[in-house]
Symmetry: C3
Subunit: 129 residues, 3 copies
């Protein structure tokens, strides 16, 4: 479970690596799955926070609130944009293990991408096999 | 195989769950793969159909037909937009199992996303392991 | 490792199939993972190169360089667009095997999608299991 406080990228690399370490597999695939349709997952640069901010701002501009196209508005102005953003990004990630660790590149981190404005508790499934 | 009758989201949750149930695994990963480049897969809200309609309309507007940029037009005005839409969404989904069922959240459904206008028969691969 | 010479799609289907063949599994999942946040992976039409060119041109137009929104500009004008393009496409692909081969459809090929302008050597992980 990941608690979020508004839109943006929340790094979960260490938590996912922690689960991999506890399970103790040296080889295989780690699958991360988010059980929501208004949040998503991404692997992005974990070095410079400005890259993540620009990413968030760019997606906000591509999929703004209050678009007259939306008819699904009962759950608030940020709900339909959240579904669209989730569809354009990823509900699951699959990461090969290398020597018992996530086989990420030097600059890669794993992030939950929150699209809703209100605080949320997001459920993830992490499978190693 | 999924028969489609024009653009939009076609729910396949029950069919995928049915395959999972027949195989009888209680734990593991279900992978769904679409064998086409002008249709894709998504996990989206399965409660209110207006969310799926807005999603379809929004993507149609982002990737319209008859864009002067397109040079790949021999297969009809909806062909190149279909490839772009497929690239922006997903060719495969990976869903962890929980107690022998797809580990979907309360509001999540699995959908084939058809991007072509003509009726099609779409081939999927479903793997449980 | 894949050497790239500027933006575009580089087909890697034969190389991935070669790894699958060497491992010799007849059944399972092939996972391809790119260890970078400014390149990505996609499954697209491998017949007509004009489809891939249009796809590249369309994404270049959607995510142009020199957008005043960007603050993450230290690594060059093509860096932030590359991260956004990677987020909109895929860092990993999962492809079921059919009779020891990638279960691709007739027109599907596997591609590394380079988003940076300078020549790069891109690292991939390929897992079969």
């Amino acid at each position: 479970m990941v608690k979020t406080r508004g839109p943006g990228l929340y790094e979960i690399t260490d938590r996912v690596q922690g689960i991999v370490s506890v399970i103790g597999s040296t080889e295989g695939i780690c699958t991360v799955f988010v059980r929501h349709t208004s949040a998503s997952l991404t692997i992005q640069e974990n070095a410079d926070p400005s890259a993540r901010r620009d990413l968030e701002e760019w997606l906000q501009r591509l999929v703004p609130e209050h678009d007259p196209l939306y008819t699904h508005t009962d759950e608030g102005p940020d709900d339909m944009p959240s579904h669209i953003k989730a569809a354009l990004t990823s509900t699951s990630l699959t990461i090969p293990l290398v020597d018992g660790r996530l086989g990420l590149g030097t600059w890669q981190g794993v992030f939950l991408w929150e699209h809703r404005a209100a605080p949320k508790v997001r459920q993830l499934l992490v499978h190693v096999g």
